[in-house]
Symmetry: none
């Protein structure tokens, strides 16, 4: 009388996800054979297929977990009563801190974003982040806080800028620079320049 179709030894699951994240980052998705993940996660090859229907479901599950954690980190601790600028800075800072504290997760999200093997569910979770930011910026725009640009464009500019900082091979990024970057982002989008 099986209850759970998906078995759950949380340690094994974690070992698989951690190993997959590391290897996908290092070698890419296609260049990483499933048995190699199994080996390094210290589980049998077949075990991976008890936790994930196939390799694609593994990478999507990984993507969604990381994305969700990042979203949670970004929005955590935001105070609704704060003024727009404060909240904007809070979100930017949260994103930068997440990237600093979870570089592998952040890199994974960036490198595998828009890959053809990501499925609808993965794209949906991304849309949810976008939706939240969109509403936030729409609010700021109506309040006259923002430069007169479509919110989607603003999101793309800011996220792009922040992402760029981490993706660029030449930048060695440090915590001390977070404030300066957040500042740059704010002046980029605020009204009345």
């Amino acid at each position: 009388m099986r209850k759970a179709k998906t078995p759950h030894d949380p340690e094994k699951l974690q070992a698989i996800l951690d190993t997959a994240l590391r290897l996908f980052n290092k070698q890419g998705f296609d260049a990483t054979p499933v048995p190699m993940i199994a080996d390094q996660a210290k589980v049998g090859t077949g075990t991976i297929y008890r936790y994930f229907k196939n390799k694609e479901e593994l990478v999507n599950s990984l993507f969604q977990r990381c994305k969700q954690r990042m979203q949670d980190a970004i929005f955590a601790g935001a105070e609704a009563h704060q003024n727009f600028e404060a909240r904007f800075r809070h979100y930017c800072t949260g994103t930068l801190h997440f990237a600093l504290e979870h570089p592998a997760e952040f890199a994974f999200l960036e490198l595998h974003n828009h890959e053809p093997y990501l499925n609808a569910a993965s794209r949906k979770i991304e849309d949810s982040l976008h939706g939240g930011l969109h509403r936030f910026l729409e609010e700021g725009r109506h309040a006259g806080e923002l430069r007169n640009l479509p919110p989607t464009l603003v999101i793309a500019l800011v996220l792009g800028a922040i992402t760029g900082v981490f993706k660029d091979r030449h930048v060695s990024f440090k915590k001390a620079q977070v404030a300066a970057i957040v500042d740059a982002c704010w002046v980029m989008v605020r009204a009345g320049a």
Copy 2:
């Protein structure tokens, strides 16, 4: 006294590169078999191996060509006598125009940037772009035109912002917005905000 080691039917070469670009963008590098490229480029499979040692060399060659064309487009028409801001705007505008006019090339460069199959030569060409921008920004910084940030960071922010605009699924980007985006980039980095 020709060497004639490598064949040179420029039309065939172009057909191969065009087809590869299209298929890599649509399906990804690993999901695109060499025979499929050959088919759609209307050449024999073996022919591709006369122009490129292997699949990796093909993708790298493609990457380098695209990157080079983008660099040329960015720096083309820049006048040394213009002031810093004008040149900054010129470069940003050039990048955005290139992306608008060559969306496939631009997408390819973004999607395949940092992939493990890119080789040293591909990374080197990227470095050269970076070097040029670095010198330019260093100059602006000394002249007190720039916010007090390391030039590498500025490059990452600006390129990231511009790239973000094109990578974001939600943005439908139009030529009319170029000026606004360039403006946002300039205020982000200029001194004395």
Copy 3:
């Protein structure tokens, strides 16, 4: 002082055999995973291996049970004092009735007959049926009741004909036709046509 080496919950055993018969008929032997049998029989996978050494022993055991039941059905109620023709008709009728009443068992025996995974024991039980019929037909032949053909050939013809009726996808066979078929079989083999 029980041995208790092999477990004996007859209900579980029956559930396993019934489920295996059903699934082997529907999907074939190789296409039926042992865990699927366990699932549908509502027992643990490992339990099957307490009743049968391996998958092959399971299918052979099933085969032998079915074959034995069919033999018993065929020979049941035959009266030694009846004349040859009556007994011949009795056996044919018995076979047809068994097939009508136990279509799954009969189909299983036909579909899996001669499969490479059947072992010596399974072939032996078939030989015993053949031996019985052989003796019977030899007797009829000596009594001048039969067409001048080797008994093995007669057995093959009659069993083949009866089997053919059930295997053919186009025939929808009914009880009312039993007598006619038995008749056809009898004229096929009787002497003095």
Copy 4:
């Protein structure tokens, strides 16, 4: 400019089909790995997949070729002006001769008939044989030549009987017995016993 999607080195194709037939007969379909077929056919594994989309298409193609050859053999040389009995005997004789001359093909058709991996096309070709016989027997029935049984039943009886002769492990069948078997089949189905 490829003409044929399916390549055709007829010798290779034949080697693959011959080897597959032999191994499927000896070991069964599922127990025969594709590389084993390739090995013994002296071709590369990949080559098989140039001639057949997958293993299932191979076995179906094989089935259809064999079935077609058998049908052709059965109906070859039948004279429309002959009387019903003569044609009936002709078809039975043709079937028996085909089985004697092509035992491997005949065994393959019998052993793999009704297997779950046979597709619609394979079943259709079988139906066409059945249809031809059906029309022939319907004619004989109207002419009062046949025992009062549905033609489908007659087909099943006769084909079953003939098949039984070859499938039975105990029968060593010889050409000299063909006439006697055909005779038995005829008396089984003719009118007015």
